[in-house]
Subunit: 137 residues, 4 copies
Amino acid sequence: ESMNLENSLKIIEKAEKKAKEIGRPVCIAVVDAGGGLIAFHRMDNALPVSVELAINKAFTAVMLKMETSRLSQLARPDGELYGINTACGGRIVTFGGGIPVFFGKRLAGGIGVSGGTVGEDENIAKAGLSAITNSGR
Amino acid sequence: ESMNLENSLKIIEKAEKKAKEIGRPVCIAVVDAGGGLIAFHRMDNALPVSVELAINKAFTAVMLKMETSRLSQLARPDGELYGINTACGGRIVTFGGGIPVFFGKRLAGGIGVSGGTVGEDENIAKAGLSAITNSGR
Amino acid sequence: ESMNLENSLKIIEKAEKKAKEIGRPVCIAVVDAGGGLIAFHRMDNALPVSVELAINKAFTAVMLKMETSRLSQLARPDGELYGINTACGGRIVTFGGGIPVFFGKRLAGGIGVSGGTVGEDENIAKAGLSAITNSGR
Amino acid sequence: ESMNLENSLKIIEKAEKKAKEIGRPVCIAVVDAGGGLIAFHRMDNALPVSVELAINKAFTAVMLKMETSRLSQLARPDGELYGINTACGGRIVTFGGGIPVFFGKRLAGGIGVSGGTVGEDENIAKAGLSAITNSGR
């Protein structure tokens, strides 16, 4: 089993619902295990920069198999991955809002959210993830 | 009035329906009047290259306010716009599947489809467009 | 209503007047709500780097819907958006001189100024903005 | 003597007047002898792609000290400069609308116009040039 359009739209639907509760228009992206985009929705009035950031947060979460929030420490001048933000043609995002999706132990894809504070983005991404992990998939 | 998430998802829904009729999995992208992505869906088993091509066809249709199919003539070595394909960081696509969306005379956005033959992509894009132009919008 | 050439030249004219008062030759750029350039003037003897910086400050103010001066805190190693400077192909500028333009609550465009100190650039940009906000537009 | 903001705005004013006569909204760019932008105006409703093309046509005219229309032959598969369009980070434009500005025999800058047919763009650029060459500068 792997990420597909159906899964991805469930994630986006749940994330959008959360974003509306918070009152924050965001961009939401879902990518597959190779980092390729499966689905993307921009809610009306989201920040222009969030189009790219949401897609790249999802991409980053896959590339490094970790939540992008972890990179905010790792990418600092005294961190282990200082300079990582210019890898992959500059697509690596070093702040929260990107989370990997695992099916069991296997990397299946990533979710990226941008448009709110970093904390809001993370909560929205996790709400999205819950759409497929809490449903007895 | 302008392109928004609601409009864009109607376009994608109709385009997807057409793609299923033809039996061709495609990527479908909708962008706003500035070329910024609003919504994107990749149908399962679509060509990997189509992620980028669908987005860039929609972008190209906006940038040049024309169907991308017209560029296949204009961008030839003896055409008026030979070399245009390297503009905009290489994002200009010079074959069919991208169409602009006008609200009256005003450019409102673009639709891009990739995954089938060029003719199929164009038909699917036009089916998508009909979702908002035939409905008395 | 949106940003157009007429609006943009009023902004530039007022900004240039301010820059002359200060005795500082600068570059001034005005972009639309998608970040696309509408007008740009380089005063004689402005810093060569300011051509790019003025355009990218205006672009950044639109992309993030905020004054670029706010990014100098947010983009620090301990800031919430550390690493943002490499987004958008490296076009994000993380110091002052870029300001967004709103018509009511709607983002309409951005103004970018470069050539003086950061404080001078900001003052010149704000003088430019006053050309359209103080006129009962 | 060299290109400055005053010269450049005269060129743009004259070019804009010509563009209005033809009824074609265009982008007009003027660069200095190093290819650096001095002034740029986008007339309302110009093609989105023309922002970049006008700037790069002016740049190309300076880089190669020739009208960009000459490149449409030189850059063809059987031409002497086949492949030139990817030089300078992809900024070289291989169709008409960019012209160099000479003061006597010395290269002083370039003018780039985009938004109409190639023939229209060239005529508008030449009208712009006439603002400084016919005036007994």
